[in-house]
């Protein structure tokens, strides 16, 4: 056993995986080696075609064999229809033991990914999170190898470090031409930014573009260019854009969530960094969308305009752009149809490579220039460590997403969280799964007050700024005690020694592991 700098006990080796313990948010340097890629040169001569009749033909042409690695982007989220089709075709071809490495949690049903794990088509998973049936299967020990979970920023790093080499990537594109120029911006099933697919397109051994809308050559606009694309396949439907934002963009009426959102906007507005040309990211989800609305109010009241908004973009941010409150919107993902469309028809709303957003191991990205990042969470502990993966009974609930990246990059990272959900306490003594290290969390905003982290690098300025307001400041310990007084002390979750998931930090070190739950 080894203990990382966040105090988590880790095995030295998990199967073939050698654990490099987390040493601190900015402690691990980049290797001095060149970027590793599987991208091959090609030589297409005039008259060659890339268009293949179906997925099976493409899988065969790509040379997919037992044990290889396949990837997908998650721009359609719950509405994805491609992954199921590709995995079904792979199963019918009898290919087994694949490593499945999508860019995030994809919780598809009919078919469920769990089916392909149980029949051996997939035997390794590397993603940003798993949940639902697949999560249950992993925690019940039904996935042979431990699942590796990476943040949005950690995935491109792992790919370029050669830790996650992708043999074949399948890119769902809402419009493409027969030579592989493609986009998510137009077509009947537009998903918006293809930000998560760039790193795969640039580094996979074989790139297959799958579309349901074949357009005349050349496809314009094109997010991913023909020079990276090996094959093109047309299917009936790649995804349902209606399900991308399922619930994410709805403005909540819950007064508690609205209060947390308003306090968050108040906190931002009280900071000395809230001035013209500031930058922010609020994300999606009930509290986040409400925060965006309140922030827009504060900007109007104080006449402050932002330079850029970053990350996953909902319609609320596009409204701010249209009003002139935000100069540039940098979209790594589009959360709804309005946001998807906006990249096409607004010059300051741009599609960006996810690596440009979140990868800490490049020559610099947007997050390092971000003032305020607003994050959701399932649990926060008295060391300000954040859990965004596992629920109260230890079950897999979500994905790492970009949360740990935003906390690591933004000058002021703010976690918004109600202190209890039903009888489940959210502010605890020790999070079940550590995802975002406490040293990168500046503030926790709850209905019972705002806790500032004395160990955060910008604590002194934030404290000084907030003490000038009527915002209620409390200690994180007081919040934890309040939770405990309300809910009582929960029974600890018992686990076995078997590691079901490895949680990597953005630098590739292990910040925590999730052990199988004792039943």
């Amino acid at each position: 056993m080894i203990v990382n700098s966040a105090g988590r006990e880790l095995p030295e080796k998990i199967g073939n995986y050698i654990v490099r313990p987390y040493q601190g948010a900015y402690a691990t340097p980049a290797p001095e080696t060149p970027v590793i890629t599987k991208r091959t040169m090609g030589h297409r001569v005039p008259g060659d075609t890339k268009l293949l009749p179906d997925l099976k033909a493409a899988i065969q042409a790509a040379g997919l064999k037992d044990g290889m690695t396949i990837s997908f982007h998650h721009a359609f989220r719950e509405g994805d229809l491609l992954i199921g089709q590709v995995l079904t075709a792979i199963r019918e071809l009898g290919i087994q033991g694949l490593r499945f490495a999508p860019s995030a949690v994809v919780n598809i049903k009919n078919p469920s990914i769990a089916d392909f794990v149980l029949d051996g088509t997939i035997d390794r998973i590397e993603a940003s999170g798993i949940r639902g049936e697949l999560g249950d299967a992993a925690l019940a020990g039904k996935v042979k190898n431990p699942v590796i979970l990476r943040t949005h920023g950690a995935r491109p790093r792992a790919i370029e470090a050669g830790e996650l080499s992708i043999d074949v990537t399948f890119i769902a594109a809402s419009a493409a031409d027969d030579y592989g120029n493609c986009t998510g911006l137009v077509g009947p099933n537009a998903c918006g930014s293809l930000g998560y697919a760039f790193v795969d397109a640039h580094n996979a051994g074989c790139v297959v573009v799958v579309t349901d809308t074949l357009v005349d050559y050349p496809c314009c606009p094109a997010s991913i260019s023909q020079q990276y694309v090996d094959y093109v396949v047309k299917v009936d439907q790649i995804g349902d854009p209606e399900k991308i934002g399922k619930g994410a963009a709805r403005l909540t009426k819950n007064p508690r969530d609205l209060m947390i959102a308003e306090r968050t906007a108040d906190l931002i507005a009280a900071s000395r960094r809230f001035k013209d040309e500031f930058s922010f990211q609020t994300g999606a989800g009930a509290i986040a969308i409400a925060t965006t609305k309140y922030l827009a109010d504060r900007m109007r009241e104080k006449g402050v305009k932002a330079s850029f908004a970053l990350g996953g973009i909902p319609a609320a941010i596009i409204d701010m752009y249209d009003e002139g409150l935000v100069r540039v919107v940098e979209c790594s993902q589009s959360f709804d149809a309005v946001a998807a469309r906006a990249i096409f028809d607004r010059p300051g709303v741009v599609e960006i490579d996810n690596a440009d957003y979140a990868n800490a191991y490049s020559k610099g990205g947007f997050l390092n220039r971000e003032d305020f990042g607003v994050l959701g969470a399932l649990e926060v502990d008295t060391d300000f460590n954040v859990n965004i993966l596992t629920g109260s009974s230890g079950e897999m609930m979500g994905g790492l997403g970009g949360g740990p990246d935003v906390a690591g990059g933004a000058a002021i990272s703010i976690v918004t969280i109600p202190i209890i959900r039903g009888r489940t306490p959210s502010i605890v003594k020790r999070v079940f799964t550590l995802c975002t290290p406490g040293e990168t969390v500046a503030a926790v905003v709850t209905e019972a007050g705002i806790a500032l982290n004395p160990k955060h690098k910008n604590y002194a300025e934030l404290k000084e700024d907030l003490e000038k307001t009527s915002l209620k400041l409390v200690t994180i310990e007081a919040l934890q005690q309040l939770c405990e007084k309300l809910t009582g002390v929960p029974k600890p979750i018992e686990t076995t020694d078997r590691v079901a998931c490895i949680v990597e930090y953005r630098d590739g070190t292990v910040i925590d592991v999730i052990r199988e739950i004792k039943r």
């Binding site: 109260s392 009974s393 230890g394 039903g422 009888r423 029974k491």
Partner: protein
């Protein structure tokens, strides 16, 4: 105290609990607990239910609990209400007065 009829208290809204009490002709107390937080608080919920039954000296009951993450005070309140309804009694608010002195 004997339960005279089946009775219910509470709802299945979030943070509430719905408790159904029935007389148990077989004798004894049988608790059927469904809860969103059974792993964390299952034992605590059962403890509170048994405590309230003991306060009322109810020895025979079928207790059906559908818990939606109710805090302990809610479980206590719903149980007290269900017992009074099932036993057709009025709660004696003064029964703990002596301890207060």
């Amino acid at each position: 105290m004997e339960l005279k009829k089946p009775a219910m208290a509470g709802t299945t809204e979030s943070s509430d609990v719905m408790i159904t009490l029935r007389p148990n002709p077989e004798g004894g107390i049988v608790i059927d607990l469904k809860s969103d937080v059974k792993a964390l608080f299952g034992d605590a919920i059962e403890k509170t239910i048994l405590e309230v039954l003991k306060e009322f000296q109810v020895e025979n009951a079928l207790v059906n609990v559908v818990d939606k993450g109710a805090l302990d005070f809610v479980i206590r309140a719903r149980m007290q209400c269900a017992v009074c309804r099932a036993a057709e009694i009025q709660f004696d608010w003064g029964k703990e007065d002596a301890h207060g002195k």
